[in-house]
C-alpha cells in the first residue's frame, strides 16, 4: 500500500534518557552504520548489520526498532509486526513501536488493531503528535468503511487516502513532548483524556407532524468547533466537500504544526504552496535554507495551535487565524498568526504566513 509516508528527515538519533544509556556505548558505530545503510536504501546490508548487532545485544531497543523499519521497507509486513509487537511488550513505555505497529496493521486493513495500538501510544505519551494524526486517519478510514456500508457506495476509486506516518527515529527529540499542547489534532483530547470532543451533530430534523403527546423526535448535539463555511447549501452541492472544508483546512494546519514540531523539515516545507510569498521577498530557495537552519538547530521544538478560525473566500481559498505557541530548547514565544491557504492538488497549502 502506498499509505506509508515514511519520514526521511535528518534529525539526529538521540539517545533517550529512558533506557538506552548503556547499550550504545559499545557498538554505537555499528548501529549508526546500519541506520545509514537503511537510509541509503541498502536494506539487505542494513539488516545484516542489525542482525549481527542483535546477536551481541538481543534486547537492544534501538536495533530492534531499526530492524522493524528495515523489514517494513522490504515489505515483510508480518515480520515487522512481530518485531514491533515484541518491542511494545518489552518497552511498553515507548510510544513509537505502537505507532509503527499501527501503521502496519492499517496497511493490512486491520483498523481496529491499528486503533488500539495508537491508543496505547497516546496513553504512554498523551501529546504524541504523530500518533494523534495517525489515529485521526484511522478513524477517518473506519468512518468511510461505515459510510460505505450505510450507503452502499462504491468507493474503489475515491477511497480516503490515509497518510499514516511511520516513525523512523525511535528517540528523535521533539516528536513527542512531555506536556500537552494547547491544541493537537482533532482527536487529541478525546482519546488521551476521556472527555468528549468534536461531536457529530446528529441533527435529526424535528418530526414534521408530531403527535400531541410525543416529544419532538430530535437529537441535538453541540455544534462543532468551526462554524465558518459550514452553511448547508441546499439542493445543488456541486462539490460535496464544501461542507466540511474547514475540518480539512484545520487538519492541514495541525499537520503543518506537527511536522514543524517533529523537526521534519521536508514535510514542513511541503506545506508551502509553489507560489508561497516569502516574508521578505527573498527567493524560495533562500527562504527554505533559512527555515531548514532554524528548524534543525534547536534540540526540540513544540508548536501548539489554539483558537483557530477558518474563513473561506471561495471553495479553494481560506484564511486561518490562530494563536501559535512556539517552544524550542531555548525559546518560548506565542502570538497570533494568519495563514492564507489554497487548495492545490487536493491539499491545503500555505500561500502566505503572517505573524502579528
Amino acid at each position: 500500500m502506498n499509505m506509508l509516508n515514511l519520514f526521511r528527515h535528518h534529525a539526529a538519533m538521540l539517545v533517550g534518557a529512558l533506557l538506552l544509556s548503556a547499550s550504545l556505548t559499545v557498538c554505537a558505530d555499528d548501529i549508526q552504520d546500519a541506520n545509514k545503510l537503511f537510509k541509503q536504501g541498502q536494506q539487505a546490508q542494513a539488516l545484516d548489520k542489525v542482525n549481527s548487532y542483535l546477536v551481541e545485544k538481543p534486547k537492544d531497543a534501538q536495533a530492534r526498532f531499526l530492524k522493524g523499519l528495515i523489514l517494513t521497507e522490504q515489505g515483510k509486513t508480518n515480520d515487522a509486526i512481530k518485531v514491533f509487537s515484541a518491542l511494545t511488550e518489552d518497552y511498553p513505555e515507548l510510544p513509537e513501536p505502537y505507532n509503527n505497529l499501527a501503521v502496519l496493521y492499517a496497511s493490512l486493513g486491520q483498523y481496529d488493531k491499528a486503533k488500539l495500538a495508537l491508543e496505547m501510544a497516546i496513553r504512554t505519551h498523551p501529546s504524541y503528535a504523530t500518533a494523534h494524526e495517525n489515529l485521526g486517519d484511522i478513524y477517518a478510514k473506519m468512518a468511510s468503511q461505515a459510510y460505505d456500508r450505510a450507503l452502499q457506495l462504491d468507493r474503489s476509486n475515491t477511497t480516503t487516502k490515509t497518510k499514516l506516518a511511520m516513525i523512523q527515529d525511535l528517540f528523535a527529540g521533539g516528536i513527542r513532548d512531555k506536556t500537552t499542547p494547547a491544541r493537537n489534532t482533532a482527536a487529541a483530547d478525546s482519546v488521551a483524556a476521556n472527555k468528549p470532543q468534536t461531536a457529530p451533530v446528529a441533527t435529526v430534523p424535528a418530526a414534521s407532524a408530531p403527535a400531541a403527546s410525543a416529544p419532538p423526535a430530535t437529537v441535538v448535539a453541540t455544534p462543532v468547533a468551526v462554524a465558518a463555511a459550514t452553511t448547508n447549501a441546499p439542493e445543488k452541492i456541486v462539490e460535496p466537500a464544501a461542507v466540511d472544508n474547514s475540518g480539512e483546512v484545520l487538519k492541514a494546519v495541525d499537520a503543518w504544526a506537527a511536522a514543524w514540531s517533529s523537526k521534519n523539515v521536508k514535510k514542513y516545507l511541503a506545506f508551502y504552496a509553489d507560489d508561497f510569498r516569502t516574508p521578505d521577498g527573498e527567493s524560495r530557495a533562500a527562504w527554505e535554507i533559512t527555515r531548514q537552519e532554524r528548524i534543525s538547530k534547536p534540540k526540540s521544538i513544540h508548536v501548539g495551535i489554539s483558537d483557530a478560525t477558518v474563513k473561506f473566500s471561495d471553495n479553494s481559498h481560506a484564511t486561518v487565524k490562530f494563536r501559535q505557541s512556539y517552544r524550542a530548547s531555548h525559546l518560548k514565544t506565542s502570538g497570533h498568526k494568519t495563514l492564507l491557504m489554497v487548495l492545490a492538488g487536493g491539499k491545503w497549502l500555505i500561500q502566505e504566513e503572517h505573524a502579528k
Binding site: 477517518a140 468512518a143 450505510a150 457529530p200 416529544p215
Partner: protein, 387 residues
Amino acid sequence: MRKLSLFLLCGLMVSTAHAAPDSRTTEAQLVKSLQAIQNNRLDIALNEVDDLLRVNPNFKLAQLVKGDLLMAHAVAIDNFGNAANAPRKKIEDLRDEARVRLQRVQTQLPSKLPPRYLWKLDAQQKYALVVDTSRSTLYVYENVNGEPRYVADYYITIGKLGTEKVSEGDKRTPIGVYFVKANLPKNKLADMYGSGAYPLSYPNEWDRKNGRTGQGIWLHGTPSDTYSRPPRASDGCVVLANDDLDKLAPYLQVGITPVIITNQVDWANEQDQIERDALLQEIEQWRKDWSSLDTNTYLKHYAHNFSSDNMDFAAWAKQKHLINSAKSWIKVDLSNVSVFTYPEQPNMVVVNFEQDYSSSNLSNRMKKRQYWIKQNNHWQIIYEGAA
C-alpha cells in the same frame, strides 16, 4: 429543538435490559446511541452502535451513525451523515429513519384502549394487525375472548409517495380494511422480498367501488443485505425487517387475519362500544326482516347508492322480490361475525360473517361481507357480496 427527556431515557434502559435481543432492543440501542451523541458521550454512543452492528451488520442507519462517530475523531463534522460524496437522497432517507425510530422509542403506546377499528373480532381471528403509517408502525393485537389485546409492534416501510393508493404504479400504500390473502414462502420469492410475503386483499370492494386500481400490495421482508429500509421506500407494500416478519408469521392466518392500514390510528373510547352494540342490533334486525319474507322492510336496510358486485339497488330489489315470492319460508343464521370500522371513513364499517341460509326450496352456507354506512344516524348496507 428540545432536549430529550431523561426520564424517557431511563425508562428505556430499564425496559431493554432484560429483553432478549430483538428489533425492539436493536432500535433502543440505536436510540441510546443517538441520545449519547446528544449528551456528548461519543464513547458510549460508539459502544452502543458497535454492539448492535455486531448482531445486525446490515443496519445501514447504524452504520451511518458509526461513520459519523468515527469521523468526528478525525475532522470536525457538522451534520448527520457526514460521508463525503454521499448521495443526498440516501442520507435523507436514513435521517428520516432515525427520526421515525426515535419517535417510536420515545412515545409509549398512545392509548390503553385498542385502535377503534377492531369493533368485533370473530373466534377464528386469533390476531389482527393495525398499521399506523404516520408512525411507521405495525401493531399486533391478539383476540382474547373477543377483545383485542396488544402483543407487539414493529417498524415498517411504506410506499415511496406515501398513502392513499389510487392507481396502479402510484407508489402509494392503500388505506383501508384488508385481509391476508396468501402466504408466499421465501423459496418462491426474489431476494428483495426477504423472509416471506403475504399478499393483501387490495383492491377491496370499497376500493373497486371507488375505481381504485393496482394490485400486489404485500406484507414482506427486506433483502438479505439490508436490515431495514427507510420509512418511505417501497412501491406500496408494507415492509418489515426479516426478523420481525419471522415473528409476525405465526400470527397470520390466510383468508382470516385482518390488516387495517391507516394514516393515523384512532384509538377506541367508551362511545365505540355503544355504537358497536347499536350496529349489531341493526344487523340482527336485517337478519330478522330477511327471514320474515317481508321484502320491503328488508330492503329498507339497503342504501340507495347500494351495489353488489354486478347489481345496483334497483336490480337487487327486483331480484329479492322475485326470489322471496317463490318461497314459503326462509331461515337465516349468522355466525363468526366480525366488524371493523373503516379508516378515514368514520361512518363506515366492514362486517364479515358466515351465513347459514335455508328455505323451502334452497339451502346454502357462505361467507359474506357487507359494508354498512351510517347516514342520518341510521345504519344501512352500501355493499354486500360473497367474501
